[in-house]
C-alpha cells in the first residue's frame, strides 16, 4: 500500500495513529479477501491460488456498475458481490469439483490457468490500465480525528469491514449453517453420514467465500489497485494470510491479516526503501516455527 509522505504528520503520536489506522484498514481488506480461501481450502483441501481472481472481479464489477449506470458505491457493492458469488458457485460445480482429490501439482496448475485466463479476459474487456473507483463526494475528503487528518473513506471501509466480519462471525459460530461447515471441516465422512450433502455445502461455501473476496476487492480498490495483474500481483499476500492464519478457520486469518496489514504498513513507513522484505522474512520464520499456521496444530 502506498502512503504519501504528505499524509503523515511530523509527530510520533500522529505517525503511530496513522500507521495503526492504515494498517487496520489494510488488514480488514486482506481479511475479507482471504477468509473465504481459508475456509474452502480447509473444507476441500484444494490449493486454490486463483482466489484473488474473485476479488479482482468484484472490483471490476463494482467499478463498471458505478461508471456505466451511475450507481452509488453502496448500491454497486452488493450487486458486484452477488454476481461474483454466482460465478464462484458455477465454477465450483463445473471445474473445481473435478479436481478434488487430485494431486497438489494439478490443483496448483489448474488455478494458475484460471489466473491467466482471468487476466486475459479482464485485459481484453477493460484494457491494461488500473480502474479507479469514483468515490461519492462526501467520502472523498479527510476527516479530523483528535487533531489528525485521516481519509474519510478509510473510516467507512473500517466500519463496513468490521460489520461484515461480525456478521460472518455470527453465521459461522452461531448458526446451524455455520455448524454444518465446521462439521464438514472436522470430518467430512461423518458429516455425510448424518445427512449433510457436503458437495452442495462446498459449492455454497465456495460461492460465499468468493463473494466476500469480491466485496474485499471492491472496497479495497484504492489499497490494492484494480488492474489485470491483480491476481498475480497480490497472490503472495492472500496465500500468506491463509498459511499463517491456518486452514479452515475464520479467526486465524483475522489475526494474520491484521498483523500483516499493520506490520506491512509500519515497515513501509519506517523503511520505505526496504519494501516488503521484512514482512516476508517474518512470515518465513513464522511458518518454519508453525507450519500449520497460528491456529493449526504444531
Amino acid at each position: 500500500m502506498e502512503i504519501k509522505k504528505s499524509e503523515w504528520g511530523g509527530e510520533t503520536m500522529t505517525a503511530i495513529v496513522t500507521v495503526l489506522f492504515f494498517g487496520v484498514a489494510y488488514g480488514m481488506i486482506l481479511y475479507l479477501i482471504s477468509v473465504g480461501l481459508s475456509v474452502t481450502m480447509g473444507l476441500m483441501g484444494f490449493v486454490n491460488l486463483a482466489h484473488g481472481v474473485f476479488a479482482m472481479l468484484g472490483g471490476y464489477a463494482a467499478v463498471t456498475l458505478m461508471n456505466q449506470t451511475g450507481m452509488s458505491l453502496f448500491a454497486a457493492l452488493p450487486l458486484a458481490c452477488l454476481a461474483v458469488t454466482v460465478v464462484g458457485f458455477v465454477l465450483e460445480r463445473t471445474l473445481y469439483s473435478r479436481l478434488y482429490g487430485r494431486s497438489e501439482l494439478d490443483q496448483v496448475l489448474f488455478s494458475m490457468g484460471l489466473i491467466l485466463i482471468s487476466m486475459a479476459l479482464v485485459r481484453l474487456i477493460w484494457g491494461p490500465m488500473a480502474q479507479p473507483v469514483q468515490l461519492p463526494d462526501y467520502l472523498k475528503g479527510q476527516s479530523l480525528v483528535g487533531g489528525i487528518e485521516l481519509p474519510t473513506y478509510r473510516f467507512v471501509l473500517v466500519a463496513f469491514g468490521a460489520a461484515v466480519i461480525v456478521a460472518l462471525w455470527v453465521i459461522f459460530e452461531r448458526t446451524l449453517f455455520g455448524a454444518r461447515i465446521r462439521a464438514a471441516v472436522d470430518n467430512r465422512g461423518m458429516a455425510q453420514a448424518i445427512g449433510i450433502d457436503t458437495g452442495r455445502l462446498f459449492a455454497v461455501t465456495f460461492g460465499l467465500g468468493t463473494g466476500l473476496a469480491a466485496l474485499g476487492g471492491a472496497l479495497g480498490a484504492d489499497v490494492l489497485a484494480i488492474a489485470p495483474n491483480y491476481p498475480l500481483h497480490y497472490i503472495v499476500y492472500f496465500m500468506v494470510v491463509v498459511a499463517v492464519g491456518g486452514l479452515g478457520s475464520i479467526r486465524g486469518p483475522f489475526i494474520a491479516a491484521l498483523s500483516i496489514g499493520l506490520a506491512d504498513t509500519a515497515c513501509k513507513y519506517l523503511l520505505p526503501e526496504m519494501g516488503s522484505v521484512f514482512i516476508f522474512a517474518f512470515v518465513f520464520a513464522l511458518l518454519l516455527w508453525r507450519p500449520n499456521g497460528i491456529t493449526g496444530k504444531r
Partner: protein, 333 residues
C-alpha cells in the same frame, strides 16, 4: 558398459529403453547441432530455448522425480544470472569461471532456503517458496547500485570461451556453448535419476512415510535433490546472462517461475524429455499468440493449463505414450 562405444554410452538411455527411442534421442541431439547451419537466423531463439530447457530440466528433478512443487524456482535461475553478470562487471568475465560461480551461488541459495523450506509440506511449502523468491526479487530491486534495479544489468560482456571462441552477434558460439552445457546437464540428470539415489527420490515421491520406515533420511535426500536442482537452475541463469549479455529483474520473478512450470508440465514431468518437448512448444505458442496482444498469450497459457490438468495429465509425452499404447505395438512414433 565398457564394450560399447563412447558415443553410445553418452547418448543412449540405460538398459530397458527401446531402440526406436534411442535412435530418436540421438537424432534429436544431432539435429540440434545443425540448427546454426540450417536456419542461421533462428540461432538466438534456439539458444534461448536451450537455456530454458536446461532450466525446466532442473525443475523436473524436483517436480517430476521428487514430488516437490515449488512456485519460486526462478529465485535460483536469477541468482545464477546475477552472479555471472555482476562478476563479469566487477571481477572476471571468463565465461566458464562465472558459470561455475553462478552454479555455486545458486546451490548455496538452494541449500540455505531449501534447508528451511523442506521442513514443511503442502501449503506452507508453497507459500515459503513464493516468499523466498519474492524476498530475493525485492532485494535485487533495492540493491540497484549492484544489480541495476529495475533496469537490469546492462552491457555485460564476456571474454572468448576458452580464450578462442568469441561470443559474436550471430550467436553461434553462444548456442553451441549452451547446447554443450545442456547436454552435460542432461547426461548428469539422466544418470542421477537412474541411480539408486534417483530411485529413492521416486520412492519419496510415492510414499515418503514408507521411505522413512526403510531407514531413508528423507530430509537429507530431498535437500540433496533441491541443491542439485538449484545448481542446474543457476547454470541456466548464468548461461542466460552470458549469451544475452543482459540480466533482467524479471529473471527472479514469479512469472518466470510460473512459465518454467508450465513449460515442464506441457511436455510432461518426470520423463527427462518433457522439458525438451515443452519448451519449444511453449515458445512457439508464445511467439504466435503474444504478437497481437499479450492478453492472447495469457489466455493461451491459461487454456493450456486447464486442458492439461483436466484432460491430459502427463503432458504431451504422456499423451504420445497413451496414443501409442492404444494404437498397439505396431505404431511407430
Amino acid at each position: 558398459m565398457t564394450d560399447r562405444s563412447t558415443a553410445a554410452i553418452l547418448l543412449l538411455p540405460p538398459d530397458g529403453v527401446s531402440g526406436t527411442r534411442k535412435a530418436l534421442s540421438m537424432s534429436l541431439w544431432l539435429a540440434a547441432l545443425a540448427i546454426p547451419t540450417l536456419v542461421p537466423g533462428y540461432t538466438p531463439l534456439a539458444n534461448q530455448m536451450v537455456v530454458m530447457i536446461l532450466f525446466a530440466l532442473s525443475l523436473d528433478l524436483l517436480v517430476g522425480f521428487t514430488g516437490i512443487v515449488t512456485l519460486g524456482h526462478a529465485a535460483l535461475f536469477g541468482t545464477g544470472a546475477y552472479t555471472a553478470g555482476i562478476l563479469a562487471l566487477r571481477l572476471t568475465n571468463d565465461p566458464l569461471i562465472t558459470a561455475l560461480c553462478g552454479m555455486a551461488a545458486a546451490a548455496l541459495v538452494g541449500l540455505v532456503t531449501g534447508s528451511c523450506m523442506l521442513r514443511t509440506k503442502g501449503l506452507a511449502f508453497l507459500v515459503l517458496s513464493l516468499a523466498a523468491a519474492f524476498m530475493l526479487h525485492e532485494l535485487a530491486n533495492m540493491a540497484s547500485s549492484v544489480t541495476g534495479g529495475d533496469d537490469g544489468l546492462q552491457g555485460v560482456s564476456f571474454s572468448p570461451l576458452l580464450g578462442v571462441f568469441e561470443f559474436d552477434f550471430r550467436g553461434h558460439t553462444a548456442f553451441y556453448y549452451s547446447l554443450a552445457c545442456l547436454f552435460a546437464a542432461f547426461l548428469l540428470v539422466r544418470r542421477v535419476v537412474n541411480s539408486p539415489f534417483g530411485w529413492s527420490l521416486r520412492g519419496i515421491r510415492e510414499n515418503d512415510g514408507r521411505m522413512r520406515a526403510i531407514g531413508c533420511p528423507i530430509y537429507a535426500r530431498r535437500l540433496a535433490a533441491y541443491v542439485m536442482s538449484s545448481a542446474l537452475a543457476g547454470l541456466a541463469g548464468a548461461l542466460q546472462a552470458q549469451t544475452t549479455q543482459f540480466v533482467a529483474l524479471n529473471s527472479l520473478s514469479l512469472e518466470l517461475s510460473g512459465d518454467v512450470l508450465i513449460m515442464l508440465i506441457l511436455g510432461g514431468s518426470g520423463r527427462l524429455y518433457g522439458a525438451f518437448v515443452g519448451v519449444p512448444l511453449f515458445m512457439f505458442a508464445q511467439d504466435l499468440l503474444a504478437k497481437e496482444d499479450p492478453a492472447n498469450w495469457y489466455l493461451g497459457q491459461g487454456l493450456i493449463l486447464m486442458v492439461m490438468t483436466l484432460f491430459v495429465p502427463g503432458g504431451v509425452l504422456g499423451l504420445v505414450e497413451r496414443l501409442r499404447r492404444n494404437l498397439g505395438r505396431g505404431g511407430r512414433r
